[in-house]
Subunit: 356 residues, 2 copies
């Protein structure tokens, strides 16, 4: 695996297949994004397709590219993701996103994603004692990290008070608990480990992957504070990589709202179930902490162009593992984790990436 | 590969991964169909995703399932497709379908799919002399074939005069040159050849596959009467299977409009480029002819629930190869071809399936 910026000797003819993650046709009234991207990048007539798992679309494109490489069908594959959301109103974006919820009961009854994640946050607070201050700590950390990321959507220091005083979107989630509406795209080039050095002096290696599903509706879950698919996808990825959670040096996780990052600490195994918020009390997930999370700024501040997010995570981890992150570099990072989920954690994909 | 109806000893826990082809979120305001299907079929927490390449979505789901099997990641995979289009008006369906066209120029200028394929038909007629009677012959044949298919959407004999006298949709294409707006779903179970006999007494074998892309816009093509991606996908599939076009016993092809079937004869190599319509003059593509095409009734009469179509084709070929097609059985069928395309042939996938 190798990001564009580190590639050499790569010609268009090398790329045998194109996988593109994209969430909704409502933003640009466009589908068949595989062909659009293949066309615009000059990669025709290579085979292409679009994969969709809402906000997990990017990680799913990555997974498919890996399967194609492992299968031996292709030697070099481009995986990417994109979304251009800013041409639509907030109401249109909310509507497009909510198509990932259960259409029969949840959409019909007026649920939106802030309200779904607000209920998950309320459940977590009620069962485990997490607070609005804990949620705010996630936003403060990720905004701080994004200050050193030139590709971040929002580069602005915020205080815990800024978050707590921002207007309520869906209680307990407020404006600064929420990721922005972003435009963006990202790609990664995958190849076989045996020939990676032909295309890059700094390849990194995907050593584990996991992919699980859950009910489309939140109302069908036994425990709405536990994203089972995400936890099981991480376990599967760790098992394939042959590692334990404590061996992870750095992680990029799905903080569409601040509660999602706290749940990620738990599903990744960085904290026990119910204890995610405790990691924030002694800054364990800051750069320099025990397990730095979202050094890029995360969805919260790097931005969340839905289909691109999973590949943006890979881009950050790749750069962390090759020591290319400047002021936000996690010292000595050797093993990275990406966690990407779509719908109400209805589909989740995790990848473990190694420096060697 | 094995259709549901022939499976035995298959338990839900055997299915490790789910791929679902679906075209548009506009029909049901629903995305993340991988999880929806996994949930409704009781297959959680297996990993799932939705793949989209407009009308090629079904064949792309098949392709991904094959990659997962070849990669060795899973032993049993479910691939399927679905679309529920009938709850929307014709205008809404036209709008949803046209999102597969180029948004910048083609959509903006008011093109629709009947008009795009109408232009391709006009170009073919102008260059090669195909006629409206030739187009009508395709519709007459496929309606006749569907009479013996209990799963067909439209079971109604039509005459060439019926087609020629039906109202013009986009000249030269008329109502009876067009496939209907259908609801439908299809699935297939894939497994490794070595263990196929565990799950079925009548497995069939995918021995070749091809997948290519073309420009998203028709206006970008050198020759609008030549669907290059479909031709190259077939060539790739034949090459992998180690066969020539003349060895194919039966084919299911993408006749969204009658012109598409004539182009399929050429891109499949059943006729030389420009000579597709000539096969109709001596009934070569009827059941009992030299190369029977669309014995199921095709998209034209079996129906065209967009995301399901590619898997419906596989279902028919599987049943043809195991001799399960009753009155519409192609005698002695040993090798079948499926051809599925999406957008304006912007993405195309072909599969060669063998009885042994």
């Amino acid at each position: 695996m190798e990001a564009w910026n580190g590639c050499r000797n790569l010609e268009k003819k090398n790329i045998q297949s194109i996988y593109v993650g994209s969430q909704s046709e409502r933003y640009e009234h466009q589908i068949v994004y595989g062909s659009v991207v293949a066309d615009w990048l000059g990669l025709l007539p290579s085979g292409s397709l679009r994969v969709e798992g809402c906000a997990a679309s990017g990680a799913l494109a990555l997974r498919l590219g890996i399967l194609e490489i492992i299968s031996g069908i292709s030697d070099v594959v481009l995986v990417g993701g994109l979304e251009k959301m800013s041409d639509r109103s907030v109401n249109q974006v909310t509507d497009a996103l909510m198509s990932a919820g259960d259409s029969v009961l949840e959409q019909y009854n007026g649920l939106t994603y802030p309200s779904i994640y607000g209920m998950m946050a309320t459940s977590h607070a009620s069962k485990y004692g997490s607070t609005e201050e804990d949620l705010a700590s996630v936003a403060v950390k990720n905004h701080k990290n994004a200050m050193d990321n030139s590709k971040a959507h929002i580069r602005k220091i915020i205080s815990k008070e800024d978050v707590l005083n921002s207007r309520v979107v869906a209680s307990p989630l407020k404006l600064y608990d929420s990721s922005p509406i972003s435009d963006g795209a990202a790609v990664a080039i995958l190849t076989k480990p045996e020939i990676a050095s032909k295309f890059s002096d700094y390849p990194t290696f995907i050593v584990g992957m996991g992919h699980k599903s859950d009910t489309i509706g939140l109302y069908e879950r036994e425990d709405i504070s536990w994203p089972r698919a995400m936890a099981e996808a991480c376990s599967e990825a760790y098992k394939m990589a042959g590692i334990e959670p404590r061996e992870v040096s750095v992680a990029e996780v799905h903080d569409a709202f601040t509660i999602n990052e706290i749940l990620a600490y738990e599903t990744a195994g960085f904290a026990k179930r119910g204890n995610g918020h405790l990691l924030l009390h002694d800054s364990q997930t800051e750069i320099g902490g025990k397990i730095p999370v979202n050094p890029s700024g995360g969805l919260k501040a790097r931005g969340h162009p839905i289909g691109a997010t999973g590949i943006c995570q890979v881009y950050e981890i790749h750069n962390q593992l090759i020591g290319n992150c400047g002021k936000r570099q996690v010292s000595g990072a050797r093993l990275g984790l990406t966690m990407n989920e779509g719908g109400t954690y209805a589909v989740a994909a995790a990848h473990v990436i190694s420096a060697e």
